[in-house]
C-alpha cells in the first residue's frame, strides 16, 4: 500500500494544465506521521511526497523519512515528484542518504516545456529545470521523468523525447493531457510524432541502447504480461492524503469532499472506498465489446474524473489514442520479436532484467 501525501497546497509554479487546487494549506507533521503509521504494518509500504510542490516542505520530507527509518530501517520506500525548480545539491545528497527516489516533471525541449510549465508571472521555467535535470541524473541516474503532452506541444513531442533520451534519461513516462482540447489535426500531428519515435525506438533496440519509453514499453508489456492488467484499482493500491488529513482515492480527487473516503484520524471508510472501487471497475457502456479492453486505460478513475466529472465515461481522446497506439506497439514488438532482438527479449521476458541491467551498466 502507498500513501500519496499532499504535503502542501502551495506551489511556486502555475503550470497551465495543473489540476491541483492551490491554496495555502500545509500538512502538519503529525498528520503525515499518522498516515505513515496507518500503512506501516502492511505489505511493502511506500510514501509518495506530492503537492503542490513537495520540495517547499523539504523539512517535512526528511523528518518523516527519519521517523520511519528509526521505527524500522528499510521498511518504507519513498518517492517525491517535483517540478525541479527547488532541486539542489544539498537536497539530493540528503535524499540519497535516505533512499528517497526523485521523479522530475519536464516536458522536454524549451519550446515544449515553457509552453505550459510557467511560474506565477507566466515565465517559462526551462532555464531552471534543465540544470536540475542534469543534477538529478548525476545523483540518481535512473530517475524517471514525467512528461505531459498537450495539443500545443504535440509537434515537439518526438524532439522532446529524444532530447531527454540524449540527456541521459533512462525512464520516460509521457502522459497526454486528456482534458486538453484535442482536435483531429492535433491528433494527426501526435501520430506523426509517434511514428518518428517508433523508428528511433526500433533503432535504439537494434543498437542495444536502453531507454524505457513508457508509451511503447508499457503497452508491449501489457501484451506480454496480460495478467498484470491495466486497472489502477482505484483506492486500493494507493490513497491520497490531503493536507488536512482527509483521504481520497487518488490525487485528482483531492479537494473534492464528495469523493473523500475517510481521514487519517478515523481511518478508511471501507464501504465508501469499495463503492468507488466497484463503480470504477464496472464495464464502461461506451466501450462494450471492445477488443482492446484489458489493455486500455479506460479504467483510470483519475483521468475519467478529471475529463468527464465521473467514473462511467471515458474521454474520446483516450479511445483515439489507444486505437492508434496499441497496434503500433504490437507491430514494434512483432518486428523485434521476429528479429529475436536481444535487448527486447531480455527486457520483456526476463524478470531479472531490471537488476541485471543495472549491474551491467556499472560493470
Amino acid at each position: 500500500m502507498h500513501v500519496t501525501l499532499h504535503l502542501t497546497e502551495r506551489c511556486n509554479l502555475a503550470c497551465r494544465y495543473c489540476y491541483q487546487r492551490h491554496g495555502a494549506g500545509d500538512m502538519p507533521f503529525e498528520t503525515a506521521a499518522a498516515a505513515a503509521d496507518r500503512i506501516a504494518t502492511g505489505r511493502n509500504p511506500g510514501l509518495i511526497f506530492f503537492g503542490g510542490e513537495p520540495l517547499l516542505r523539504k523539512d517535512l520530507i526528511f523528518a518523516l523519512a527519519d521517523r520511519c527509518e528509526a521505527r524500522e530501517p528499510g521498511r518504507f520506500h519513498y518517492k517525491v515528484t517535483t517540478n525541479g525548480t527547488l532541486l539542489d545539491e544539498a537536497f539530493l545528497a540528503e535524499a540519497g542518504r535516505r533512499r528517497i527516489a526523485v521523479a522530475l516533471s519536464c516536458d522536454g525541449v524549451r519550446e515544449a516545456h515553457d509552453a505550459c510549465r510557467v511560474d506565477a508571472a507566466g515565465a517559462g521555467t526551462w532555464d531552471r529545470v534543465e540544470p536540475a535535470l542534469r543534477l538529478l541524473l548525476a545523483h540518481q541516474p535512473y530517475a524517471p521523468v514525467m512528461m505531459t503532452v498537450r495539443p500545443e506541444t504535440a509537434a515537439r513531442f518526438a524532439e522532446s523525447v529524444l532530447w531527454l533520451r540524449d540527456r541521459g534519461v533512462r525512464y520516460l513516462i509521457p502522459s497526454l493531457d486528456h482534458a486538453a482540447p484535442w482536435t483531429d489535426a492535433a491528433f494527426r500531428t501526435l501520430k506523426r510524432q509517434y511514428r518518428r519515435l517508433a523508428r528511433a525506438w526500433l533503432d535504439d533496440h537494434r543498437r542495444g541502447r536502453k531507454f524505457w519509453f513508457a508509451a511503447f514499453d508499457k503497452r508491449i508489456a501489457s501484451r506480454i504480461h496480460p495478467e498484470l492488467g491495466c486497472s489502477c484499482r482505484l483506492g486500493r493500491r494507493q490513497v491520497s492524503v490531503a493536507p488536512d488529513g482527509t483521504l481520497y482515492p487518488c490525487v485528482q480527487f483531492v479537494g473534492h469532499p464528495e469523493w473523500a473516503i475517510g481521514s487519517v484520524a478515523d481511518g478508511i471508510d471501507e464501504a465508501k472506498r469499495e463503492a468507488i472501487f466497484l463503480r470504477n471497475e464496472a464495464p464502461k457502456a461506451a466501450c462494450a465489446g471492445c477488443a482492446l479492453e484489458g489493455r486500455c486505460h479506460n479504467r483510470c478513475g483519475c483521468m475519467n474524473f478529471q475529463t468527464t466529472g465521473g467514473l462511467e465515461t471515458v474521454p474520446p481522446i483516450l479511445c483515439e489514442h489507444e486505437r492508434f497506439l496499441q497496434p503500433l506497439c504490437d507491430r514494434l514488438a512483432a518486428t523485434l520479436y521476429a528479429e529475436r532482438n536481444e535487448l527486447f527479449l531480455r527486457q520483456h521476458y526476463n524478470p531479472a532484467f531490471p537488476v541485471l541491467s543495472i549491474l551491467e551498466d556499472f560493470a
Binding site: A198, L202, A291, F324, A334, A338
Partner: protein, 305 residues
C-alpha cells in the same frame, strides 16, 4: 473524436511471458528456417520454463513437449495453433547490417555533388558484386524476384495505422533486386536514388543532397512484417557505401585537379567502395550461414562446408 470500440484486434505473433516460460525455444536467439506451419509456434506459442536450455533448434527437431495445462487452456492453445497454421503466416526476417557500415558509410557527402562526388554505384554494378559474393557462398541469385503475400509494416501511412495489416492478411507484393529460386532469400540494394525516393518529404532532385542510406535501410527494414504463404523469407539489405575520400589540403588548394589525379582519386574511391560493399555482403552471409538461413546450408555452422 469518438469512442469507437474495436471489433477485432490484430493477432500478435509474439508469445506472452507465460507461453515463453513454457516453451523457451520461442525466445531462441534467432529464428531457425522454420518448416511449414512454424507460424503456429510463433503465433500461438506453446508452453516450458523461462530461459531453460534451448530445445534442439534444427529443422528436424520435434516440437518441445507441451507440459500439462488445465484442459481448457490447452484446448485454446491448440485451437489457436490450428487457426494460425491454417493462415500460414510466416515472419520476414531481415538480416543484420554490418554495424561499421551503419555508423560510417552511406552518407557520402554534404554539399555539391559536382565538386566533390563520392563513388556512386550503378544498380547493375552493385548487384553484380553482390551476386559474386553469394555465388562464392554457393548461393545463386536471380534478378527481379517477387515476394507475394507480403504484409507491410510501413509506419508512415495513416490508413495502415488505423487498420494495421494483420499477420495473415497481407496481400501486397514486393519486388526485390535479387532472390533465390526457391523464394526463401531476397536481396535489396539501396542506392542513393532509393534514399531520395523513400524520403518522407519529396524534394526536387538537385545537385546538392545528403542521402542517409543507413536510415533508409532502417526504414525499409521496418516495412517488412510477414508473408501469408510460405516459405519464410530472409532478406539481405545492403546499401551503397558512397565512399568519399577527402581531398588532401594540397589537392584542395589545387582544385580542379588535372585529369590523371582525378582518375586516381576516383579509382581509389571505387576500390574502397567495392571492398566495403563486399564486407556488408560477407557479414550477412556469415550470419545467414550460422542461422541456417542460406538455401542448401541448413545445417549447423561448420557442417555445410
Amino acid at each position: 473524436m469518438k469512442i469507437r470500440p474495436v471489433a477485432k484486434a490484430a493477432p500478435s505473433p509474439i508469445p506472452t511471458a507465460a507461453e515463453a516460460a513454457a516453451n523457451p525455444s520461442l525466445l531462441e536467439a534467432a529464428p531457425r528456417r522454420a518448416p511449414r506451419g512454424a507460424g503456429a509456434l510463433l503465433g500461438a506459442g506453446l508452453l516450458g520454463g523461462l530461459f531453460a536450455p534451448a530445445a534442439g533448434g534444427t529443422e528436424s527437431a520435434p516440437p518441445p513437449e507441451v507440459p500439462a495445462l488445465d484442459a481448457e487452456r490447452a484446448a485454446d492453445a491448440e485451437a489457436a495453433a490450428r487457426a494460425e497454421e491454417a493462415r500460414e503466416v510466416y515472419p520476414i526476417v531481415v538480416g543484420p547490417i554490418l554495424r561499421q557500415a551503419m555508423e560510417e558509410d552511406g552518407r557520402g557527402y554534404f554539399g555539391c555533388l559536382a565538386i566533390d562526388p563520392p563513388c556512386v554505384f550503378s544498380e547493375s554494378e552493385a548487384l553484380d558484386l553482390i551476386r559474386q559474393e553469394f555465388a562464392k557462398a554457393g548461393v545463386d541469385l536471380l534478378p527481379d524476384r517477387e515476394l507475394a503475400g507480403f504484409a507491410s509494416n510501413r509506419p508512415d501511412r495513416d490508413k495502415e495505422e488505423e487498420n494495421p495489416p494483420a499477420a495473415g492478411e497481407g496481400s501486397g507484393r514486393w519486388r526485390f533486386d535479387l532472390g533465390t529460386e526457391d523464394g526463401t532469400l531476397f536481396v535489396e540494394f539501396l542506392s542513393r536514388l532509393d534514399a531520395i525516393a523513400l524520403r518522407e518529404e519529396k524534394e526536387p532532385y538537385v545537385a546538392m543532397d545528403c542521402p542517409d542510406l543507413p536510415a533508409c535501410s532502417e526504414r525499409v527494414r521496418e516495412m517488412m512484417f510477414s508473408r501469408t504463404n510460405g516459405p519464410p523469407a530472409t532478406i539481405g539489405l545492403f546499401f551503397d557505401p558512397l565512399v568519399n575520400i577527402r581531398l588532401s589540403e594540397a589537392d584542395s588548394r589545387n582544385w580542379p585537379l588535372d585529369g590523371k589525379a582525378v582518375q586516381a582519386h576516383e579509382a581509389a574511391e571505387r576500390k574502397l567502395a567495392q571492398l566495403k560493399l563486399r564486407e556488408q555482403v560477407r557479414f550477412f552471409l556469415d550470419w545467414a550461414r550460422k542461422e541456417g538461413r542460406l538455401p542448401g546450408h541448413n545445417t549447423e555452422e561448420g557442417e555445410s562446408e
